[in-house]
């Protein structure tokens, strides 16, 4: 399958895994053998794709907010809304190898590993970027400068630069060798605070470097209309990193009213992104970053994370599935059947579907 040429216009759902609760994060392991996912049920779920074995790692006391595999495999890092990070030897144990009890004041919203696997970097509600030894969880350094909570992190393909995006639309670029601030990029259109709002809305919800390291995509939404429904225009700002200016503003053509929670570049420079829509379908969108209009889109439920399989040909989306109980009450008639919404981990193959062999 991996030899098939990329063709997102012919993408198709090749597999799905259902889960009874909402999952916010889902990632392929670096060897492509596993999917790890987590969300509302406080557990880390590990599915082995061959043979469909399932393992559960129980160690968090609240919703999971971030998941990332070690690039060399063998270890998985999970974070939660209470500032806890666990490191797991997910193939051999169900107990954490080590734990950081207070990695953030509150929610650790983003985790990332440096490409060499030496450092784990976290960021979240306290607005501080923190580096930890990936082997031990020991603190390495902290980098301050954001005025608000940080939603997203990304590391350049050469491993030299880190970017972090916050609620107010500030993207800070940091050097990792040595650890120091470099500059700030302006993604403030992704933040809205109108006079009658009582909270800031939006933020840089997702970041991704292009494979050649020349572009940075920042996802979120523009022009939020309120701080209650928080509806906005899903938007991706593509920065030219040489100039630090926005080169292209990517849009969607379908209906979505939430931010881009996840962005992934494919090896040919195509960008994939996913957003949310209240109560109805959203979409998985693909662009060539030189063009604002999408190259292709696939109708899908709201999704909160995307992961690219190491073969570069499969995209995993943690997709919301309505259990039929959403919307305004009263729901007394569902008293016995009133259940949470669920998830479908949908794997999209990004090439033409092989023709099925005819019987005989």
């Amino acid at each position: 399958m991996s030899a098939a040429p990329l063709d997102v216009k012919k993408a198709w759902e090749s597999r799905s895994i259902k889960h009874e609760r909402q999952l916010f994060r889902a990632q392929f392991s670096p060897d492509g053998r596993f999917i790890a996912a987590g969300g509302q049920d406080k557990l880390v779920h590990i599915w082995e794709l061959e043979g469909e074995k399932k393992k559960v790692l129980d160690g968090h006391n609240t919703w999971l907010s971030s998941l990332v595999f070690h690039p060399k495999g063998g270890k998985l890092f999970s974070a939660d809304y209470l500032g806890v990070i666990h490191c797991w030897d997910y193939e051999n144990s169900t107990r954490p190898l080590w734990t950081i009890a207070e990695a953030d004041r509150d929610n650790v919203r983003a985790l990332i590993l440096t490409p060499d696997g030496e450092h784990l970097i976290s960021a979240g509600d306290d607005g501080v970027v923190k580096a930890w030894k990936a082997a031990s969880g020991k603190p390495v350094t902290t980098m301050e400068g954001h005025g608000e909570c940080i939603f997203s992190l990304a590391i350049s393909p050469d491993g030299k630069h880190l970017v972090s995006g916050d609620l107010l639309g500030a993207i800070r670029q940091w050097s990792l060798q040595p650890w120091k601030p470099l500059r700030q990029l302006d993604a403030s259109p992704l933040h809205t605070r109108e006079e009658n709002f009582i909270a800031d809305v939006g933020g840089v919800r997702s970041l991704a470097f292009s494979p050649d390291g020349t572009l940075l995509a920042a996802g979120g939404m523009k022009e939020a209309k309120s701080n209650s429904f928080c509806p906005g225009k899903p938007t991706v700002l593509v920065f030219d990193l040489e100039s630090g200016k926005v080169k292209t503003e990517l849009k969607i053509t379908g209906k979505s009213d939430g931010p881009f929670n996840a962005l992934r570049f494919l090896e040919d420079g195509t960008l994939a992104g996913h957003t949310e829509m209240l109560h109805t379908a959203s979409e998985l969108t693909f662009w060539k970053t030189s063009q604002p209009e999408p190259l292709h889109s696939i109708s899908n439920g709201s999704a909160y994370d995307l992961s690219l399989h190491p073969d570069g040909r499969q995209l995993l989306a943690a997709t919301y599935v309505s259990g039929g109980n959403s919307g305004n009450g009263a729901r007394k008639r569902f008293h016995e059947k009133y259940l949470p919404n669920t998830t479908n981990l949908r794997i999209f193959s990004l090439f033409a579907k092989p023709e099925e062999k005819q019987p005989g």
């Binding site: 509302q40 919703w63 009658n196 209650s228 909160y304 009263a330 009133y338």
Partner: protein, 428 residues
């Protein structure tokens, strides 16, 4: 739902009296209810009961505030923290209220009928009385009518709200515009509250006398309610002109500003305290945009602290001033939010089981009322409709909702739903 058989404890006509009788009894007490039985009226005028309603428009999430249930499948991601009541937990988003939980009560089993804002807000603020083909007053106007002003030099009902202010007659419903509310946009007094220096007090009085005379002539052939509204708004403005000190921010303690917060709701609750101290009978404080269908958890993290800290400060300050025993504090919305979390990680409208916070004026201290299902989605047994809460409020204010009625165009009307009764578990 707790109900009593329909029928009034006292339906006799002796409780329905004419305007002339009341005026005669009360000696023309300004703004007093025209249709109240004299003995009852005298009784309640003796009481200096006051009310502050903090209205979180759109619906605060019970899970992210007063009823966190961290083990529920519907719980949010936030911590559940201990309160000052042993064994009782609130969300970590209300740490200040958690520390004063022993001074307040929470009803966790409100079960109302309307899942929509457009109909739900007036339905809740009017107490959802039996439909008798009239537009019932909102609670503030009803209290203004039933109790009159606590300080005759100030309007009985003031509404602090974001945006524009002005005199809002529609809150009064069939009671008539004179029971409407003076709305203070962003908590600020009406413009033109200051008499220009070029106009002397004598000239101002002469101008007002001329205006009243013109109004009397004009009203002879027109809708009296409109003229009442006009006259009332002038009278209120005049009252406030004499009390500019209530709005003088230079008199505020810097520590108070810090304790209540610089955000609108904090500033407005602090202004409410000043109005209560000055003797305003009923103060409503509105905050909008609590309807968190989208991004509920990020929004709750930012919104809920905006009510937590100033509310706790208000409770403490009123207690320190000896006012809490006669001032009823209510924190509520038109409904709660759904247990189920939607596709935008929001919570939708949920009238089936939600929470109200009460304090002062005969409310028990440290009472957590009501049992829900383990997941918090539904009431176990019978819940409390808004009519029960209105019976409770009126009873605490010294108004017997069984013996007190409105009369409008020949109809005798209950002041609260006749099928409901006070929530005794929350009352001292």
């Amino acid at each position: 739902m707790k109900t009593t058989p329909h029928g009034h404890a006292c339906g006799s006509l002796e409780h329905d009296i004419s305007r002339r009788q009341v005026l005669g009894t009360l000696g023309g007490a300004a703004g007093f209810g025209s249709l109240l039985q004299p003995g009852i009226a005298e009784e309640i005028t003796k009481q200096k009961k006051q009310v502050c309603l903090i209205w979180l428009d759109g619906g605060i999430s019970q899970y992210e505030s007063w009823h966190p249930l961290p083990k529920s499948k519907f719980a949010g991601p936030f911590r559940s923290i201990k309160t000052s009541i042993p064994g009782v937990h609130f969300s970590e988003l209300v740490p200040h209220t958690a520390r004063i939980a022993h001074k307040i009560s929470v009803i966790r089993t409100m079960a109302t009928k309307d899942p929509n804002h457009s109909t739900g807000v007036p339905r809740i603020q009017r107490g959802d009385p039996v439909d008798r083909g009239v537009e019932y007053p909102h609670l503030g106007s009803a209290v203004a009518k039933l109790l009159g002003p606590a300080n005759p030099e100030l309007p009985p009902y003031i509404w602090i709200k974001p945006g524009n202010g002005g005199f809002i007659a529609r809150e009064a419903g069939f009671l008539g515009a004179q029971y409407g509310t003076l709305a203070l946009g962003d908590g600020k007094p009406p413009i033109h509250i200051h008499r220009p220096g070029s106009i002397s007090a004598e000239v101002d009085a002469a101008r007002n006398a001329l205006r009243r005379k013109a109004n009397e002539r004009f009203s002879a052939y027109r809708n009296a309610s409109e003229i009442d509204a006009y006259e009332t708004s002038y009278d209120m403005a005049q009252q406030l002109m004499a009390r500019k000190d209530i709005f003088d921010d230079s008199e505020l303690d810097e520590k108070d500003r810090e304790r209540y917060g610089s955000h609108p709701l904090g500033r407005h609750i602090l202004q409410a305290r000043r109005l209560l101290e000055a003797g305003v009978r009923f103060v409503k404080v509105n905050s909008y945009h609590w309807d968190t269908h989208g991004d509920n958890f990020n929004m709750s993290q930012r919104l809920i602290p905006q009510v937590d800290r100033p509310f706790a400060a208000l409770v403490n300050d009123l207690e320190d001033r000896g006012m809490l025993d006669h001032t009823l504090l209510i924190v509520m919305s038109e409904f709660g939010r759904t247990p189920v979390i939607n596709s935008r990680l929001g919570r939708d409208h949920w009238p089936d089981c939600w929470s109200v916070v009460l304090a002062g004026c005969g409310i028990k201290r440290g009472a957590i009322i009501g049992e829900t299902t383990a997941d918090g989605a539904f009431v176990n047994g019978e819940g409390y409709d808004i009519g029960h809460l209105f019976h409770t409020i009126y009873t605490l204010l010294g108004i017997n909702p069984r013996k007190t009625h409105y009369r409008y165009k020949g109809q005798k009307l209950d002041i609260a739903h006749g099928d409901c009764e006070p929530i005794r578990e929350v009352m001292l």
